[in-house]
């Protein structure tokens, strides 16, 4: 036992202390957090926008009078459909590489490319989550809002979306957890995120155990913290109804 501990201590020094290798971990963690944070924001923005367009189209296509408005809405809805199909139909790693090697071949800003790739990817999933939330709110709520004189968007904003958000919070939290871990493939375009950092250390020290277990623990702690945070938020939202 003492022998094992001693070897662990030596390995720890080799992997994290020697040559300041812990800097890889810290820098990688910063990159992972940065990419995840901005990708989440981008994903929510895209997702909510698309969910609004899609559910507006679904709710109103029968009632709307023919004209420019209806035409524009159906075109937008078509674009959203294509986006959802393509993004959900291809692997995120492939999307990331297309983004880096083809679309932004001239740019070397890897963080930006990763944010765009992961944000656009996540947006497709968020869109369907938010849309399911909007659809889950009772139709009477919508009628009540409209009957008071709110227009379509005011009804959405004050009455439907707050209820929809509460309904989909667990699913959204799940999407963010997935996204946080998904950014670990950023190494494919040589972005030094947390996973890549562990891998670099492993390749330098030829001692895989601590670097890989170490980064796994860091991901685990982050996800647990986030889950705890969302649980708290969910309880708070629920309490307001009892």
């Amino acid at each position: 036992m003492a022998e094992w501990l001693e070897s662990m201590q030596a390995q720890f020094e080799l992997n994290f202390i020697t040559d300041n290798r812990w800097r890889y971990i810290v820098d990688g963690l910063a990159v992972t957090l940065k990419v995840t944070l901005f990708a989440v924001i981008l994903g929510i923005a895209i997702g909510v926008l698309i969910a609004m367009i899609r559910s507006t189209y679904d709710k109103n296509k029968k009632e709307m009078r023919p004209g420019f408005g209806k035409f524009a809405l159906s075109v937008l809805n078509g674009i959203c459909q294509v986006y959802l199909t393509v993004i959900r139909g291809t692997p995120v790693v492939v999307q990331l590489m297309i983004m880096y090697y083809i679309i932004f071949a001239s740019s070397n800003n890897k963080v930006l490319v990763a944010v765009l790739a992961f944000g656009i990817n996540s947006g497709a999933y968020v869109a369907e989550i938010v849309r399911s939330g909007i659809m889950s709110v009772d139709g009477g709520q919508f009628e009540a809002g409209r009957s008071l004189g709110f227009n379509y968007f005011q009804t959405m904003r004050y009455i439907i979306v707050p209820q929809a958000f509460k309904n989909v919070l667990p699913a959204l939290a799940n999407e963010f957890i997935v996204l946080l871990k998904e950014t670990s493939v950023a190494g494919y375009v040589a972005l030094q995120d947390l996973t890549k950092a562990g891998d670099i250390i492993r390749s330098r020290t030829f001692s895989p155990f601590l670097p890989l277990i170490g980064i796994a623990l860091i991901y685990l702690v982050m996800v647990m913290f986030f889950t705890w945070l969302v649980g708290k938020l969910e309880r708070r939202l629920r309490n307001s109804e009892r």
Binding site: G145, L148, E241
Partner: protein
Amino acid sequence: MNANETLIKVENVQKYYNGGAIKALDGINTEIKKGEVVVVIGPSGSGKSTFLRCLNLLEIPTGGSIYFEDVDITDAKTNINTHRQRMGMVFQHFNLFPHMTILKNMIIAPMKLQKKSQAEATVLAMELLKRVGLEDRANAYPSQLSGGQKQRIAIVRALCMQPEVMLFDEPTSALDPEMVGEVLEVMKQLANENMTMVVVTHEMGFAKEVGSRVMFMADGKQVEEGTPHEIFTSPKSERLQNFLAKVL
């Protein structure tokens, strides 16, 4: 606006589904005058709810016109939202906003649509809550209330916008029997204050006692119309006689 002035004029309103295969409303004509309480009765599927929902365009008629305060609200160019602010509606299933307190339910529309300050909107809301005896529930959430309480709140929520007319879509149909009375009481009180009301209901007692006019509908048509006395004591059409025989 004078009493006796027409508030809502309905001209040959139709609601067809499947290109006319189903006629939910088949040419309705009526005028609703200020201060009138029009009670719409009829068997299920007769189109009475559809008719009521057409009055504020929750259902868009496939034909005919509806004038509210002399404006054709069925015209595509009319901004229906401003007119709806002057027409309160109460639903069978209350449709209170579950994520807001009772007070917030009541003041959100006046604040956002009439640009009232929170204080100003709250004063009116509390006054109305007091009238229906629920002022102590202002900070409760809808899920904490009974059905009858919810419907009374739904009524005063609509009243917070100070509407010209109140539309009631079977307001007591989803209530337990012992809660029907408290809601009807509030509606009677409103009628006594000369609120213009259109009420779709199965409560024949209410129709007799409070209605200034009763409209009997069947199969999407208005079969008979008259004072409660005419309708309930000397029904002319066989359709109405059969209906009354079943419900009275």
